[in-house]
């Protein structure tokens, strides 16, 4: 082995508190070290040239750069050793500045520490293997599960970009919940028109295959090459897709599970949607008295729905306005906890609703009792702390969003996770809100939690862009630092497979060992530390490498 060590002074930054001459001298005599040089600024042009030329001239097979933190200038140094004829993954960075010269003042002790850190780099890198950024072919097609507004948005974008799209919907008709809305807030447009426009565009595209009344029955493969079996009315069909967008939406909260509200027992107790779509058929008197209840099936820990459903306040406001518009002299009272009119234009809409004469009472409605004269709304006024009991001609329930019915089924097929409320769990709540732990599988729209239409469209399209970015080249780069199985040593205990977060490990039934789907592997190394015999290892971070680094730190200078 021919090792080259380049020590940077970083001007005074390292040199001031580390005796660079002593370090250099120490390593000049070190086994296998062919080059030990120091230089004021390795990142400067002459410094770069020094590394490149010495690497080339000496035919170094390891280069240790002892300078600043490893992320700084990493690409530049990698490029240099590559130009010098060395595989860039045989480069080792040692952070002498951030981890030694800047954190201690004693030159003697710092120099010892620097020697140990560099030695750790030498020992650790001796176990490195040349690596390459591999490419794997990916299928340039996507499967979108769920034909609601989110799924349609995703399909529209992907097909526009030339990807083959399989759109799978379990119902006979595309459009999801938006299709049922006659008046989509805030635009006031007809939901079915919006949907029809999207569906027609999709139907016109040759690269879109729509499967309605279809259920997915099996799912396998890994990133870039997923495979699903669909049960269509025309029989079974197998599709291959590079990635999947799950957009299976939500299930409206069923108010029957709150029997005290009397829904289903009396025609005068309806949901907001029923009100919007059938106000005329309700047979209300000329000046009706209408109660609107917010948060039915939301913010209710007793029924296991502690979350806010995000859209029902606006729906409730709209219900109030709808009644007021038709019956100018109606009496409309809204019972709320907080009015969450947060969407753009929502607050103005709330003010507007108040101006139109809808009364807002901060209260908890405990029960609704149908009587011959009307429906009796009983509860507590939480603003004044008194009991309330009022009679209305109609009670409108603004129901929340519950997790989609197929959540468990899809989650177990795709091996993705549900959150505590049984919506799908995102990879990161903020920066990866529509990703899952599995590469190439996204969750868009309300299936990961309540959202309004605009947010669902954003989600659908944003996840589609991400998927397109992963697949658009027809191949994907595989990180070189992935797990690797030694088939001779693997006992096939499947412990790594159980633990793997990215589900990148698959069991080979025939050989009784596991295999790594490199394209799906995140490179965390959890499998490696889970395997008792380290038969699965993480490239670039082998057990021997880490153990030797520790050894170097602890051994005598």
């Amino acid at each position: 082995m021919k090792i080259g060590i380049f020590l940077c002074h970083c001007g005074h930054n390292i040199k001031h508190t580390v005796d660079v001459a002593r370090v250099k001298e120490y390593f000049q005599k070190f086994l296998n070290v062919a080059v030990a040089e120091d230089y004021p600024f390795l990142c400067s042009e002459p410094g770069q040239e020094l590394i490149r030329s010495r690497t080339e001239a000496e035919g170094l097979d390891r280069v240790i750069i002892a300078a600043c933190a490893p992320t700084l200038h990493q690409d530049m140094f990698k490029d240099l050793v590559k130009k010098g004829g060395l595989n860039p993954f045989l480069l080792r960075r040692v952070s002498v500045r951030e981890h030694c010269s800047w954190v201690g003042d004693d030159i003697g002790k710092n120099t010892d520490k620097a020697i140990r850190l560099i030695k750790a780099g030498v020992y650790g890198s001796s176990h490195y293997i040349p690596l390459e950024e591999k490419q794997v072919d990916v299928t340039q097609s996507a499967m979108v599960i769920g034909g609601g507004v989110s799924g349609l948005s995703a399909a529209l974008f992907l097909s526009n970009q030339g990807m083959h799209v399989y759109l799978v919907e379990k119902e006979a008709e595309l459009g999801g919940h938006v299709r049922k809305l006659r008046n989509v807030w805030p635009s006031g447009k007809d939901g079915s028109e919006l949907i029809d426009e999207m569906v027609e565009t999709l139907r016109d595209r040759e690269n879109v295959e729509i499967f309605t009344s279809t259920r997915m029955v099996s799912f396998g493969g890994s990133f870039g090459n997923y495979e699903a079996t669909l049960e269509t009315p025309a029989g079974e069909s197998t599709v291959k897709a590079g990635g999947v967008i799950v957009a299976i939406g939500f299930a409206p909260f069923d108010p029957i599970s709150k029997p005290e509200l009397g829904y289903g027992k009396d025609k005068r107790i309806v949901t907001t949607l029923e009100l919007e779509n059938g106000l005329d058929e309700l047979g209300l008197p000329a000046n009706p008295r209408v109660a609107v209840l917010h948060c039915v099936g939301s913010r209710d820990e007793q029924i296991g729905k502690p979350y806010c459903s995000r859209v029902c306040c606006i729906n409730a406001l709209r219900a109030g306005q709808t009644v007021k518009e038709k019956f100018e002299h109606s009496y409309v009272e809204s019972f709320y906890m907080d009015v969450r009119a947060h969407p753009k234009g929502g607050e103005e809409f709330y003010e507007d609703t108040q101006e139109k004469g809808v009364l807002f009472t901060r209260g908890n409605v405990g029960e609704i009792i149908p009587t011959p004269a009307g429906v009796l709304v009983r509860g507590e006024d939480t603003l004044f702390g008194e009991l309330l009991e009022r009679e209305f001609d109609l009670a409108v329930l603004s129901i929340g969003m519950s997790p989609p019915k197929d959540n468990q089924y899809i989650a177990s097929l795709l091996k993705i996770t549900l959150d505590k409320d049984k919506f799908f769990l995102e990879a990161h709540p903020k920066l990866r809100p529509y990703d899952t732990a599995l590469k190439g599988i996204f969750i868009a729209g309300t299936c990961s939690g309540p959202k309004d239409m605009e947010e669902s469209i954003n989600h659908g399209r944003a996840s589609a862009v991400k998927l397109f970015g992963l697949l658009n080249l027809g191949y994907a780069f595989v990180e070189p630092f992935v797990a690797m199985v030694d088939p001779k040593r693997c006992s096939g205990c499947r412990a790594c497979e159980q633990a793997c977060v990215a589900k990148a490990i698959k069991f080979d039934d025939g050989e009784r060992i596991v295999r790594v789907e490199e394209a799906a592997c995140m490179g965390c190394g959890l499998c490696n530390s889970t395997c008792p015999s380290s038969a699965i290892g993480l490239k670039g971070h082998a057990d021997s490498s880490i153990n030797d680094e520790v050894g170097a730190i602890l051994e005598a200078i």
């Binding site: 753009k344 947010e455 991400k466």
Partner: protein, 434 residues
């Protein structure tokens, strides 16, 4: 498909906050060339100023810094800091843009971010640090914050004696071993053609001095939410110690909806983030200050996002008193600040003493959004946010110009991220048509 034709396309992203970063990274990963303009010296936007983010209380720089670095290293993204568009002309389906690039006075290739210059600067500790909202001091040559991207120092032209007055011994130049400091650097104008533009200029916060009754700027102990955020932050002026004017406050009063849902301040709209960031602040105080008394004044608590309601509940259960009602005024009392508020739940008028009052100031369009929109002939709404269509949430009134993030209206981080992705998707469709 894909790569071949997209490689030639070039998109301009204006703004380097989380919205712009998301849009730029998505576009670049789809094969487009991207130029990102950032007016300030580092990307990261508002989010990087935050200590923690709700509702998980995870550290904002942990999640954002890798993204910032990704932007800097991405082969298809060109990052220009201290730069803004000066003139924009439609040119076919795209735009000819002239970009003004202010001098940094530091050669980015040579700077090693060692900080020797800053230590030598005669103005050291004498200029207000904008990143910490003027709560701390810096030198005239400085790095805006430790995780800044690019990791390079810069000279503040107004603060530097040599740049502003032409007189200084230039100790920084001597201190710099790589000779990276170059006072001859001049402002540059760069002309370029872009196939589409994504606007992500972000937002400003309501100027709380306008709300005189709260005494912000005149009463000691009244600060804004973002200032409090810096106080909490480990990279902030106090290093994360909850110390204000040398003392750790014990009685905290948070006021929500300052400059939101308030016609008098010209904003009827809800700012969407203040309820939750207040709950976050209350939780942080509860964690760090023993026996703290914490009050929150509110109109409605809008905890609408995923796990937000649960976070609000746990904040309440952790011992934060929520008072429904917004205070009328704040005055200096004998033993601290006096907050007068009508508690709408009990109907009584209360006077509550506090050591620190934090105003949850609402969101405003960035001041330079108007200028930017005029250049592009993009419509804005009555508040100055960029007008969009709820069916195509990033589409503006000008073809080929898309918007994401707070510029089109208040959004929290996940919504901003999704809107960044959506803007990228519309942008790709637009440039694909050409």
């Amino acid at each position: 498909m894909g790569e071949r034709y997209l490689q030639e396309k070039h998109v301009l992203v204006v703004g380097g906050g989380i919205g712009g970063i998301t849009a730029a990274l998505e576009l670049a990963s789809c094969g487009v060339r991207v130029t990102m303009l950032e007016g300030g010296p580092s990307i990261g936007g508002r989010m990087i100023q935050l200590d923690k983010t709700f509702p998980t209380l995870d550290c904002s720089s942990c999640t954002l810094t890798p993204k910032m670095v990704e932007v800097a290293l991405h082969p298809r993204i060109e990052l220009m800091t201290l730069a803004k568009p000066m003139g924009i002309e439609r040119n076919g389906k795209g735009f000819s843009v002239s970009i003004q690039k202010r001098p940094r006075f530091v050669d980015m290739k040579k700077c090693t971010a060692c900080g020797a210059c800053s230590g030598a600067c005669v103005m050291k500790g004498r200029l207000s640090d904008e990143f910490n909202l003027r709560l701390s001091k810096r030198a005239a040559i400085y790095i805006p914050f430790p995780q800044a991207v690019p990791q390079k120092y810069l000279v503040d032209g107004d603060g530097c004696l040599f740049v502003s007055r032409g007189k200084c011994k230039k100790a920084c130049v001597e201190a710099c071993e790589t000779r990276a400091i170059n006072f001859d650097e001049k402002e540059e104008i760069i002309e370029s053609y872009y196939d589409a533009i994504v606007l992500a200029p972000g937002f400003d916060l309501y100027d709380a001095t306008e709300k005189r009754e709260y005494g912000y700027g005149s009463l000691e102990g009244v600060m804004t939410g973002i200032e409090f955020e810096r106080i909490c932050s480990v990279t902030g002026p106090t290093g994360g110690e909850m110390v204000i004017n040398g003392k750790t406050p014990k009685r905290f009063y948070f006021i929500q909806c300052v400059g939101s849902r308030d016609r008098q301040t010209g904003a009827r709209f809800c700012s969407r983030v203040c309820c939750m960031y207040t709950a976050k602040h209350a939780t942080i105080v509860r964690d760090r200050v023993k026996d703290a008394e914490i009050y929150v004044s509110y109109i409605d608590v809008r905890a609408y996002g995923k796990n937000y309601e649960e976070f609000y509940k746990s904040t309440q259960e952790g011992g934060t008193y929520y008072i429904r009602g917004i205070p009328g005024d704040i005055t200096q009392g004998e033993k601290g600040l006096l907050v007068r508020v009508e508690d709408m739940l009990s109907g009584e008028l209360r006077e509550i003493e506090a050591d620190l009052v934090v105003l949850a100031t609402g969101v405003r369009p960035r001041k330079d959004t108007a200028e930017l929109c005029n250049l592009l002939k993009v419509d804005r709404d009555e508040y100055g946010f960029i007008r969009t269509d709820s069916i195509a949430p990033s589409r503006t009134s000008t073809k080929g110009v898309f918007v994401c993030g707070m510029a089109s209206g208040p959004k929290d981080v996940p919504d901003t991220v999704a809107s960044g992705g959506e803007a990228a998707s519309r942008c790709l469709e637009y440039i694909g048509e050409q």
